[in-house]
Symmetry: C2
């Protein structure tokens, strides 16, 4: 296998407004940070972690998926932490593919995907975080949000159903909510899968041309594509306002599926290693028992 | 009926650290306010809203309960708002009695009581607000929390299971959480039912002396009574830190059941009137239809 030449480090792609770490008991302001964040500076076609050879990169993703499976087994046994992975991105940005390729080796024992449809009457009658909070991970659990509460600061903004002021209020509410989660033992990893408009056209056309992919296509996808610029602006604003020290965003170049998988897998692995997981201490008397 | 002489106004018993009103879009700091609050200044035997005649006061409570029933009917039809009533207080402080006497006339259609047992394994594996958020009111709903998330800043403090720093963090989390609720249409009314240690002794003894009341008695109640001062201090600290403009506390003199009921009923009525409730506009064509 060719030696991998890595030309960038993960933190280059991580966005957190203030790089201070959060101390228990500290009470940082949760208001949306006012920072400049320009999504267009991020190249969806970048290959920062590529070895230069596609087959090698793919093999590396497969290796990482196996490593992540082992780490998740340990994470589940350890039971001290919770892991929340938020996947956001436009249609065809590769959320499903990421779940399959990066998290696919992990056991269903302790791993769960959460997704939400258009809100029901009962959900609409509650605050928008109500149905989100319900699905957060428990100790030992890995939960992947396939879209998330961030839809509530994207779609209604583009459709003009909430004002900028209401959006700012939601940003602050989301920061508070994610702070609660991290302060109570959750690692929150947020990935924006960043594709170009051209790649989206190719992928949508592919879905239309292949009847076996029609189930993934919805007419609404074309309407959303017409609002491409508005959605990019909305994503940019959301990442700027909710990239916090406790729950930073990572902007993932996602025009290449392999590069996308590679970066997400590396980031999840890094996060799990940082937890210094361990199997719970065994009961020494157990090893003396003979099962007859 | 004798003319009622009211010697105090409700705001005298309301505790909010900063008397500013919350504007949508504003992002006040959610950190626990550092204020001095001395619970012992509040007399559990006070009768600020009494007419001076017990029968008259009782009749007034019954009247108010009927008025609250009518207001709740309107509240349910209106569907624009949510009402959360938090009842806290030591054992025998009258939480159950308040629910029966003040909210008893309201219809089960749109009114719900929520209470929590010792947390299950699954609940313990989540943040402590997870099981609370699940039970918050929907639009048109009145929900009464018979004890609440405040137990999580009382019992573990008195039992030494969390530090002062962890408590401060929880205060800030609770303020954030209640701010989310109010910003999304919930009126949050928090009542501390304030009884004296003497009255608690009488009521506990009553429960022991009357076999038909044994179901309300638990041996743990006597242990908690031994920590009376620690609980009073913990309540004082909680009220000081979480009496916010968006979710103020009301300290209710509760040695007299009638006075307690009177004050809670008045406060709930005032809150409902402030919402300027209305039946949703009718469809004018409906009144022309003849049902045959």
């Amino acid at each position: 296998m060719a030696k991998r030449k890595v030309s960038a480090s993960l933190p280059d792609y991580r966005f957190a407004a203030a790089p201070t770490s959060l101390q228990p008991g500290a009470s940082p302001k949760s208001a949306a940070p006012t920072v400049t964040f320009d999504l267009s500076r991020f190249d969806p076609g970048a290959r920062p972690f590529s070895s230069g050879d596609k087959a090698t990169d793919k093999a590396r993703v497969a290796e990482l998926a196996v490593e992540l499976d082992k780490l998740q087994d340990l994470f589940y046994a350890d039971r001290r932490f919770k892991l929340l992975v938020v996947l956001q991105g436009t249609d065809t940005s590769g959320k499903d593919g990421t779940i399959r390729d990066v998290f696919g080796e992990m056991s269903a024992l302790g791993v769960r995907t959460a997704a939400w449809k258009a809100p029901s009457d009962d959900e609409l009658a509650h605050d928008y975080l109500w149905r989100i909070h319900e699905k957060v991970p428990a100790n030992g659990e890995v939960v992947i949000f396939n879209r998330s509460h961030y839809e509530d600061v994207l779609v209604p903004v583009v459709q003009g159903r909430i004002t900028k002021e209401q959006r700012a209020q939601r940003f602050a509410q989301i920061n508070d909510f994610e702070r609660l989660l991290t302060e109570t033992g959750t690692t929150v990893l947020k990935f924006f899968l960043n594709i170009s408009k051209d790649v989206q056209r190719e992928r949508l056309q592919e879905r239309l041309d292949d009847p076996s992919k029609h189930w993934k296509f919805q007419v609404g996808d074309l309407a959303a594509r017409k609002s491409w610029d508005a959605y990019q602006a909305a994503y940019g604003a959301a990442i700027a306002a909710t990239g916090t020290p406790w729950a930073p965003w990572m902007v993932v170049p996602a025009d290449s599926k392999t590069q996308r998988n590679l970066m997400v897998a590396m980031a999840v692995k890094e996060a799990l290693l940082r937890l210094k997981l361990r199997y719970p201490p065994g009961d020494p008397s157990l090893s003396k028992i003979k099962v007859t």
